[in-house]
């Protein structure tokens, strides 16, 4: 697609990058059929190519973005289904991030929305604040009726969430209990550290059992993913720099072989650190080194191999998180591992479709997210599973709201099958190993 940036505009590296991506769009139209918002809403402006055009026009025009443009770009899930469908090499992810950052810098949202977004951007990446806010939410729950619909929705969402205690959270290093002699770093995450500690604990147990010494540098907090997808690029880059500092020295000084990520949304951002910090001469090369070491837990476990002690024999519906299947193209590894531990892994119909979680999307766009969540749960139920497994805490919380089937991170099942604990979500069920 032709762009019409002025020479002055094109001098800006960001606009140049945007222009070169936009020009790759050929208007084939393959992307619309797999875009969740187009499938639900049928509006051309809620399709990938519609958004590519909108971003182009917004950036070319400069100034204050049109509210309608903001609406359609806000509705994008950043699920990247369009990128796996489109045969061009357009990097839609970069484009939408550029668009979001432009909106954040040039558009004044209504007060309530601004407040909500600031709240999310400040609270979620900060585990202490997040814990506090969950407490506040439980107090506020009875008053949901008098709160705005989005806030009430968020409060309702926290109902299913329970902060848990970790066996390992206080440690910066966990020794290996196996002989292989691997060294890895683990991202504990921000949200996951509060509401998904069982995932981190299962990850640490299985890694340690399979010969990995695990580093968890305390200075690493949020990877930057949450603010990045809200258009808060500076905040994201600041968080990324902290993580890069810690991990780069772990790689260089401690001989860490991989940065392991078990929240796939974060994995996508970390694998792209090279690009995120490419404009920062002090960090560009370090960030690329970190990105090159980043691996989803499933990629690492396939690489080192795992040993089940008792086959699980469960019928497991595997839900592909968008960040794994579309952004990182990691689809076979979780299935391979689950099969290895004796699960009967079934694919979910419409597996390319997002569940509606999408980072902070289910808080900011509850109506669309709810429709997608229900649709996903219905599709899952068609496969009649005993357990749902996935690779991202966001998907777990989202799907849990719409499905009665217990849901776990796949690493919890892998840990259980290789000698670890029964997943918390299955404790109340009669399902058993072997």
């Amino acid at each position: 697609m032709k762009t019409y940036f002025t020479e002055q505009q094109i001098a800006s590296p960001i606009l140049q990058e945007a222009a070169s991506e936009i020009e790759k769009c050929r208007h084939y139209g393959f992307c619309t059929a797999t875009c969740p918002t187009y499938v639900l809403l049928g509006d051309e402006l809620d399709s990938p190519r519609g958004r590519v055009d909108l971003i182009g026009k917004m950036l070319e025009a400069g100034g204050v973005p049109d509210p309608s443009t903001v609406k359609h770009l806000d509705r994008c899930l950043s699920c990247m289904a369009c990128t796996t469908t489109c045969p061009t090499s357009i990097d839609y992810g970069k484009l939408i991030d550029i668009g979001r950052e432009y909106i954040e810098e040039n558009y004044r949202r209504p007060l309530a929305e601004r407040a909500l977004r600031t709240l999310i951007a400040k609270v979620l990446p900060n585990p202490a604040l997040f814990r506090l806010s969950m407490l506040a939410a439980s107090v506020a729950r009875p008053f949901s009726g008098v709160l705005g619909s989005k806030l009430a929705g968020m409060i309702a969402m926290t109902k299913a969430l329970k902060p848990q205690k970790s066996d390992f959270a206080h440690l910066e290093r966990v020794d290996s209990s196996g002989a292989a002699g691997y060294r890895v770093a683990l991202l504990e995450g921000c949200v996951q550290k509060v509401i998904g500690v069982q995932i981190n604990d299962a990850t640490i147990r299985i890694l340690s059992r399979h010969g990995c010494e695990i580093y968890k540098p305390r200075s690493v907090g949020c990877c930057g993913s949450l603010p990045l997808h809200m258009g808060r690029g500076d905040e994201a880059r600041a968080l990324a720099r902290r993580a890069v500092d810690a991990w780069h020295s772990a790689i260089v000084d401690e001989g860490v072989q991989a940065i392991i990520i078990n929240a796939s949304g974060c994995g996508t951002t970390i694998k792209d650190y090279g690009h995120l910090l490419k404009g920062d001469p002090d960090y560009a090369s370090k960030a690329q080194i970190v990105a090159d070491h980043a691996l989803d837990i499933s990629e690492w476990l396939v690489r080192i191999g795992i040993e089940p002690v008792a086959p699980l024999g469960l019928r497991v519906a595997y839900h592909d998180p968008c960040s794994l299947q579309h952004a990182q193209r990691v689809t076979s590894q979780p299935r391979q591992l689950l099969t290895r531990v004796g699960c009967d892994v079934v694919n979910v119909p419409e597996r390319h479709m997002c569940c509606g979680s999408a980072g902070t999307y289910n808080m900011l766009q509850p109506e669309i997210a709810g429709r997608l969540g229900k649709r996903k749960a219905e599709n899952i139920s068609r496969t009649k599973p005993e357990v749902i497994a996935t690779g991202n805490i966001g998907c777990m919380n989202q799907i849990q709201q719409y499905s009665d089937v217990p849901i776990v991170h796949f690493v919890e099942l892998l840990d259980w099958a290789t000698g670890g604990k029964k997943p918390v979500a299955l404790c109340a069920t009669a399902l058993n190993r072997g």
Binding site: K2, R26, G29, F30
Partner: protein
């Protein structure tokens, strides 16, 4: 851009039609917004997009019938599409401007029945290949789909109506369809075959019924809007084993076709054979080498040979599959095929285990198990610029003729500066020779060359005695005009009988332009 006084719509009539349509289907299911009509008018053709007047999403056969009645009343032409993924053959845009697209797929997308015992499904227009595949998968794959290598979100109903085909023994989608419900241009609802009998229990299992066989009338035509269709499905074989052979030279197509006829006529190979040329194979993962060749010309043979070496193939890759109850039985069948194909010493055998590590080959393995794939889309990116279409002349499974056809195609493409990108999909007697034409649609000069090239294919193959069988919307009237007056006149006579006001897809496959 095509224009025609026959389809000129009175703006007042159109406005009144839209008001009535909104009342019929609900205002939110009629869209005349600028963004919608612009997008639905897009195709990838040299002549440019074809503007439409609006898009309507009906929910049922009754609503379709209602829309057809309104279209007749206000003389507004309708253009029905199912899943609308005909990308490269016209997308969702009609032949002539001003038509109102009826997109059936958005709301009429139910799988109405899957009968595992009798091995068939009944679908509405919006059911996609992926939908059907997912449904069969969630049932543990008792039955296998035959799919195209095109968009997984395209569907069996629209594909069948365009004479589409796949690769397994159920490749002939029309032959494997059974029983249609059609809203005719005059507003009547027709149930074909046994479906004509009130309370029929054999609509989707008995193909030819009583009386004239009408189903074929609705293929590559514009006589009705099909609202449901039965499709037969094959029981999933316990073992499917694909095989691959690479042949080094362009002229090996002669030997390949002779082997293909011998094996296909005798039923040695149950699937169709895919005979894929070098660029068609590696074009799914690489692009025109701008650093080594002039983009305004056909890629030189020397560069093509270099690229063959880089991708580990020769001029042609032959693939197919066998189905068997056990792996041993499959291996035994493969041994027979291997012995035949490698006898002359030219072919290199590539087993499935090796081939499947490479997406370029995996496309083929997927098609033999009926698994939808997007891996062929990148062929459209072989050359930059977004112009893409298919040219499908018929080629007999006869060595010398296939060599002549290759020479003819290469000659035309070279004259216009494009590349020979061809896959023969080979049955016992004839092949669909899928040629992909890609060009820079943003360059008027290249557009003109692409246009002339397409027409040259139609003309020169016709002169040699072979029609181009499934042209995109832009070339349908041109291609149909090569078939001789009597054929087109008969088509138009049928049009007058079933759609007297000519309100359904006027111009599709050249039919309905006579008034």
């Amino acid at each position: 851009m095509a224009t025609s006084s026959q389809t000129a719509v009175q703006q007042d009539d159109l406005a009144e039609f839209m008001v009535a349509a909104r009342a019929l289907v609900g205002a939110e299911w009629v869209d005349t917004s600028a963004s919608k009509v612009d997008r639905f008018g897009e195709n990838l053709m040299p002549e440019g997009n074809v503007p439409v007047s609006g898009v309507i999403y009906p929910n049922s056969t009754e609503q379709v019938q209602g829309l057809v009645a309104l279209a007749n009343r206000f003389k507004v032409p309708l253009y029905p599409v199912s899943t609308g993924q005909n990308i490269g053959l016209g997308s969702r845009a009609p032949v002539l401007p001003g038509q109102v697209v009826v997109e059936l797929g958005r709301r009429m997308n139910r799988i109405l029945e899957i009968n595992e015992e009798m091995a068939y499904a009944v679908v509405e227009p919006g059911v996609s290949y992926q939908d059907l595949y997912d449904e069969l998968e969630s049932r543990g794959h008792p039955l296998m789909l035959d799919t195209t290598s095109g968009p997984p979100q395209g569907g069996p109903l629209g594909n069948t109506l365009d004479k589409g085909a796949g690769y397994t023994p159920y490749f002939d989608h029309f032959y494997m369809s059974c029983g249609m419900e059609v809203v005719l241009g005059n507003g009547d609802v027709l149930r074909t075959g046994d479906g004509a009998l009130e309370g029929s229990k054999s609509w989707n299992i008995s193909k030819y019924g009583l009386g004239p066989y009408l189903d074929g009338l609705f293929l590559q035509s514009n006589y009705g809007i099909v609202t449901r269709m039965g499709i037969w499905l094959m029981p999933k074989p316990p073992v499917t084993q694909s095989f691959f052979f690479s042949f080094p030279d362009d002229d090996d197509i002669g030997e390949i076709m002779e082997l293909a006829r011998f094996t296909k006529l005798r039923g040695v190979i149950p699937t169709l054979l895919k005979v894929t040329n070098d660029i068609y194979a590696f074009g799914t993962e690489t692009r025109f080498p701008l650093d080594r060749a002039d983009i305004r010309k056909t890629i030189p043979d020397a560069v093509r040979k270099e690229m063959q070496t880089e991708h580990g193939i020769g001029s042609w890759v032959v693939s197919g599959a066998v189905y068997a109850p056990t792996q041993e039985a499959a291996d035994a069948q493969i041994d027979v095929i291997r012995a035949l194909f490698t006898k002359s010493g030219k072919a290199t055998y590539i087993p499935q285990e090796i081939a499947d590590e490479n997406p370029m080959f995996r496309i083929h393995s997927d098609s033999f198990i009926g698994k939808p794939t997007r891996d062929e889309f990148p062929l459209y990116e072989w050359r930059p610029g977004g112009g893409a279409t298919w040219i499908l002349p018929v080629t007999p499974i006869h060595g010398e003729t296939a060599k002549d056809h290759q020479r003819l195609s290469r000659n035309i493409l070279e004259r216009f500066g494009f590349d020979y990108i061809c896959e023969h999909v080979v049955g016992a007697r004839m092949s669909r020779a899928l040629h992909v034409l890609v060009w820079n649609r943003e360059d008027p000069e290249e557009n003109a060359r692409a246009d002339a090239c397409y027409k040259a294919f139609i003309d020169e193959y016709a002169a040699a005695g072979y029609p181009v069988s499934r042209p995109p919307t832009a070339y349908q009237p041109y291609a149909m005009n090569r078939l001789g007056h009597s054929f087109l006149q008969t088509c138009n006579n049928i049009k007058d009988a079933l759609d007297p006001n000519g309100i359904l897809s006027p111009g599709r496959y050249g039919i309905g332009l006579h008034r």
